[in-house]
C-alpha cells in the first residue's frame, strides 16, 4: 500500500534562517507531488507541484522553493525565512492528474512551521 511521510512534524525557526521540509512517498512510482500551505487553520493554498523528477511548477511567487531530486521525494526549502512563512505545510501525492477522472490527493500528516 502507498504511504506518505513528512518531516519534521514541528519546526520553530528564527527569521532569516534556512528551511528544509521533506516528503517521501512509498509504494508507488512516478506520483504527482504537491506542497500546500494552510495558514491560521484555514484554507489550503497550493505552493508547488511536480509531475516528474526535476520538474517543478510554482503557483505563488514567494520566499520558498521546491525540488524533486528523486521520483518519490519532494523538498520544500527557503534560504531565509520570513515571519509570513509560518503555517502548516502539507505534502500530497496523486497518481496522475489530481481531480481528473476522480483521482484524489493523498496527504501527509503535515509540518507546522513557526517563524519567530
Amino acid at each position: 500500500s502507498q504511504t506518505i511521510h513528512q518531516w519534521p512534524a514541528t519546526l520553530v525557526q528564527p527569521v532569516g534562517s534556512p528551511l528544509s521540509l521533506e516528503c517521501t512517498v512509498e509504494g508507488t512510482s512516478n506520483p504527482n507531488l504537491y506542497w500546500y500551505r494552510q495558514a491560521a487553520g484555514r484554507g489550503l493554498q497550493l505552493l508547488f507541484y511536480s509531475v516528474g523528477i526535476g520538474q517543478i511548477s510554482s503557483e505563488v511567487p514567494q520566499n520558498l522553493s521546491a525540488s524533486r531530486p528523486q521520483d518519490r521525494q519532494f523538498i520544500l526549502s527557503s534560504k531565509k525565512l520570513l515571519l509570513s512563512d509560518s503555517g502548516f505545510y502539507l505534502c500530497a501525492w496523486s497518481l496522475g492528474l489530481a481531480g481528473a477522472r476522480g483521482r484524489e490527493l493523498f496527504f501527509g500528516e503535515g509540518s507546522r512551521l513557526t517563524v519567530l
Binding site: 504527482n32 504537491y34 500546500y36 487553520g41 484555514r42 484554507g43 489550503l44 497550493l46 507541484y49 509531475v51 503557483e59 502548516f88 502539507l90 500530497a92 496523486s94 496522475g96 492528474l97 489530481a98 481531480g99 481528473a100 477522472r101 476522480g102 484524489e104 490527493l105 496527504f107 501527509g108 500528516e109 503535515g110
Partner: protein, 116 residues
C-alpha cells in the same frame, strides 16, 4: 478564475443529528469531479466523498452524502447521524485550474463541531 467558496466558517451539531455543509464553485467546464475532504484535529486530511459532475445521481458513502446541483454550481455535504468523530474541518475541493492541470483548489473550510 475557477473558484471554490465555503460560506460557513463554523458549524455545530448535536450527536445523532444531521448537518449540511455548503460549497459553491465556478467553472466553465462541463465534466469534472468535486471532492469533500476531512481534516480531523490530528491533522491528516482524508477524502470523504467525490462526485462526478456528469452523473445526476448524488454520491453516498455511508452516513455522508452530497446534494449536487450542477446548474447552480452547488455541492453540499450532508452528514447524517453525526458522531463525535466527525468533528473536523471540512474542505470542498475542485480542479480549479481545469482537469488538464492536475491541481485541486480548496475552499476556505468549515469547522464542524459535534456536541455530545
Amino acid at each position: 478564475a475557477q473558484t471554490v467558496t465555503q460560506s460557513q466558517p463554523e458549524m455545530s451539531v448535536q450527536e445523532a443529528e444531521t448537518v449540511t455543509l455548503s460549497c459553491t464553485y465556478d467553472t466553465s467546464e462541463n465534466n469534472y469531479y468535486l471532492f469533500w475532504y476531512k481534516q480531523p484535529p490530528s491533522r491528516q486530511m482524508i477524502l470523504v466523498i467525490r462526485q462526478e459532475a456528469y452523473k445526476q445521481q448524488n454520491a453516498t458513502e455511508n452516513r455522508f452524502s452530497v446534494n449536487f446541483q450542477k446548474a447552480a454550481k452547488s455541492f453540499s455535504l450532508k452528514i447524517s447521524d453525526s458522531q463525535l468523530g466527525d468533528t473536523a474541518m471540512y474542505f470542498c475541493a475542485f480542479p480549479g485550474g481545469g482537469t488538464s492541470y492536475g491541481k485541486l483548489t480548496f475552499g476556505q473550510g468549515t469547522i464542524l463541531t459535534v456536541h455530545p
